[in-house]
């Protein structure tokens, strides 16, 4: 037998109490992992943004367009590598609940700017050739069972009319941080239809995405772009993609702050649950600890014994909680349409955080009982009656 065995036997002394404590910790760790995953999903767009991309939008609001003529002027600024542009198309597919991001994009430049969208060359060729072709993300294709050659009918709203897009390409997101639920079609096709139906809206661009050669030039180039269109009909606001994405997320900030806060409240709860169990156990064993000291166990032996017991419980609870996190997050993403949280996965950092929290809590919960066991004199401990 080793002291380790005594830790185990102590931890299992009250099987029901220990099981409930482990379960409590597991549920809290799971809730923590889940909340953190939701929070990181919100920020995924921000996290995924590249340092070498700038976004230029209408200074008044994101919903007002910019003229296509800006493209060439921006391209002439030193340090600009590629200029691409997109429009938010929206529209209704089947019904309003079938939400996913639909963009009209200048495909060739857009793929240069977004190398994280990976398209097989033959599909790209087919996509490029056909004017009303579209490209969908692999996750979106899976969700709606879209296949190459399928037609996606969309009822326009921002851009009225009936629109039929033929799927010609399916892109793979480069990694888990990349949104695999977007749909792109040719900006030229949108413009062609506008020219016919609503000539006043021809040549409208939603926003420009600029790839720059050196991320350090971001501030300077942004400044130059905005300077270029100062006092024109459509003034611009250029910022890093990160700032742009953050602005997007900002609206929901309060919820996120709350969720964030909650996830740390949960850690406090784990601490109380385990702390309570440890204090009860240590109190009941006051006399035993005095006996161990009498036999020759030192303060550091008792420290190991109690901390070890606390760690055993917290590790079991933490491990169980992490195991539960996966199915819970999995189930959540089954019931919630992928396009709501395009990027929804458990980040390694979440696991690390939840795991270390459980460990740290294990240590902290043991502090008070340890102090009590070490401080109580043998004589008082032996005379102790529960």
């Amino acid at each position: 037998m080793r002291i380790f065995k005594l830790m185990f036997k102590n931890a299992l002394r009250h099987k029901l109490r220990t099981s409930l404590t482990i379960l409590g910790i597991a549920i809290a760790v799971m809730a923590f992992g889940f909340l953190r995953t939701v929070v990181t999903a919100w920020y995924a767009g921000v996290e995924a943004s590249a340092a070498n991309r700038l976004v230029t939008r209408n200074a008044v609001s994101f919903i007002f367009p910019l003229p296509l003529a800006y493209r060439d002027k921006i391209a002439r600024i030193p340090g600009v590598e590629t200029v691409s542009y997109m429009n938010w198309f929206q529209g209704v597919y089947i019904d309003k609940n079938q939400f996913f991001a639909r963009f009209a994009a200048d495909v060739q430049t857009a793929l240069e700017v977004y190398p994280e969208f990976i398209v097989p060359p033959d599909q790209l060729e087919a996509f490029t050739k056909e004017r009303n072709a579209c490209m969908v993300g692999a996750d979106l294709a899976k969700q709606y069972n879209f296949k190459i050659g399928d037609v996606i009918p969309i009822e326009g709203d921002i851009y009225p009319g009936k629109w039929d897009f033929v799927v010609r390409a399916i892109y793979q997101p480069r990694d888990e941080k990349v949104d695999g639920t977007q749909m792109w079609f040719h900006w030229a096709y949108l413009d062609e239809r506008m020219r016919q139906d609503m000539p006043g809206r021809a040549g409208e661009v939603g926003w420009y995405i600029i790839r720059i050669s050196n991320p350090n030039d971001g501030a300077r180039i942004s400044e130059e772009v905005d300077q270029l269109f100062k006092n024109s009909r459509a003034e611009t606001k250029t910022e890093s993609e990160r700032a742009f994405q953050e602005g997007f997320v900002q609206g929901t900030n309060l919820i996120i702050v709350l969720l964030n806060f909650m996830s740390f409240v949960i850690i406090g709860i784990i601490m109380l649950v385990l702390g309570n169990t440890m204090i009860m156990s240590a109190r009941e064993r006051t006399k035993e600890y005095a006996v161990l000291k009498t036999i020759g166990f030192s303060g550091s032996h008792l420290t190991k014994l109690i901390a070890g017991e606390s760690m055993i419980i917290s590790i079991l609870g933490g491990a169980l909680g992490l195991l539960l996190t996966y199915p819970i997050v999995g189930m959540f993403s089954l019931f919630v349409p992928k396009s709501w949280f395009p990027i929804f996965y458990i980040e390694p950092i979440t696991i690390v955080l939840a795991g270390t929290s459980a460990l740290v809590v294990g240590v902290i919960a043991a502090l008070f009982p340890i102090q009590r066991a070490v401080r109580t004199s043998i004589v008082d401990g032996l005379r102790f009656v529960g």
């Binding site: 037998m1 080793r2 002291i3 065995k5 005594l6 036997k9 102590n10 299992l12 002394r13 006399k287 035993e288 006996v291 161990l292 000291k293 009498t294 036999i295 020759g296 166990f297 030192s298 303060g299 550091s300 032996h301 004199s377 043998i378 004589v379 032996l382």
Partner: protein
């Protein structure tokens, strides 16, 4: 006395309760020679347990010196004192004080975990100690599966596992029936005679005191 193992010199002990001191032992001197079997008697509250605790190094005197086996235990730090107890003293309590989640074997092994003995060596010691107390066949029983007398014998096995020179027992038969008490006393006698353990035993029981070579009486903190 040349070969005295315990020397208690002018020891006083008072417990502090809130703001006032409760005097328990009053200027006591006592010498126990090696191989002695000393019985300590006296009315309840007279300070027997307190004196025993001082001799065993689990408490410190307010005044005076306690020297055991040449070591002035008042000079040792807490950790050093714990080490000293582990090697020099075996304890036997009235209520056995076994760890309920450990088997008889594991309870006896407990003090050996603090030594550098290998697993195999510890096994030898444990088996030997349990054999001495006549419980070799109960090694894997838990305390609650044993009778009071058997529990006390496991406790004695635990006390002798590290082969200490001094055994202290605080009313070891206080919670036992006549028959079991008799067995425990015979066992202690044997440990004293055969294994040359010096024993200090607190007791209320005159029959227990009969087994002792010397009997001292404590009354109101004074030794008679």
């Amino acid at each position: 006395m040349a070969n005295s193992i315990i020397q208690v010199e002018n020891v006083s002990k008072a417990y502090r309760r809130d703001t006032f001191d409760i005097p328990v032992l009053n200027n006591i001197s006592l010498s126990v020679s090696e191989g002695d079997f000393l019985g300590l008697m006296g009315p309840s509250g007279s300070g027997k347990t307190t004196l025993l605790n001082l001799v065993a190094g689990i408490d410190r005197p307010s005044k005076g010196r306690v020297v055991v086996g040449g070591t002035d235990i008042g000079t040792l730090s807490e950790t050093a004192l714990a080490k000293w107890r582990a090697t020099h003293v075996g304890f036997i309590f009235q209520f056995y004080n076994l760890i309920p989640v450990l088997t008889a074997y594991e309870n006896v092994e407990l003090p050996l975990l603090l030594t550098s003995l290998s697993k195999a060596e510890r096994k030898k010691h444990v088996e030997f100690a349990l054999q001495v107390v006549g419980l070799a066949d109960r090694m894997y029983h838990y305390p609650k599966q044993l009778s009071g007398g058997q529990e006390q014998r496991v406790a004695i096995a635990r006390a002798i596992a590290t082969d200490p020179t001094l055994l202290v027992a605080d009313e070891p038969t206080g919670d036992l029936d006549k028959q079991s008490a008799e067995e425990i006393l015979t066992l202690l006698e044997r440990l004293n005679k055969e294994f040359k353990k010096t024993i200090v035993m607190v007791t209320h029981d005159p029959r227990a005191a009969e087994k002792a070579h010397t009997v001292r009486h404590l009354d109101k903190g004074e030794l008679k």
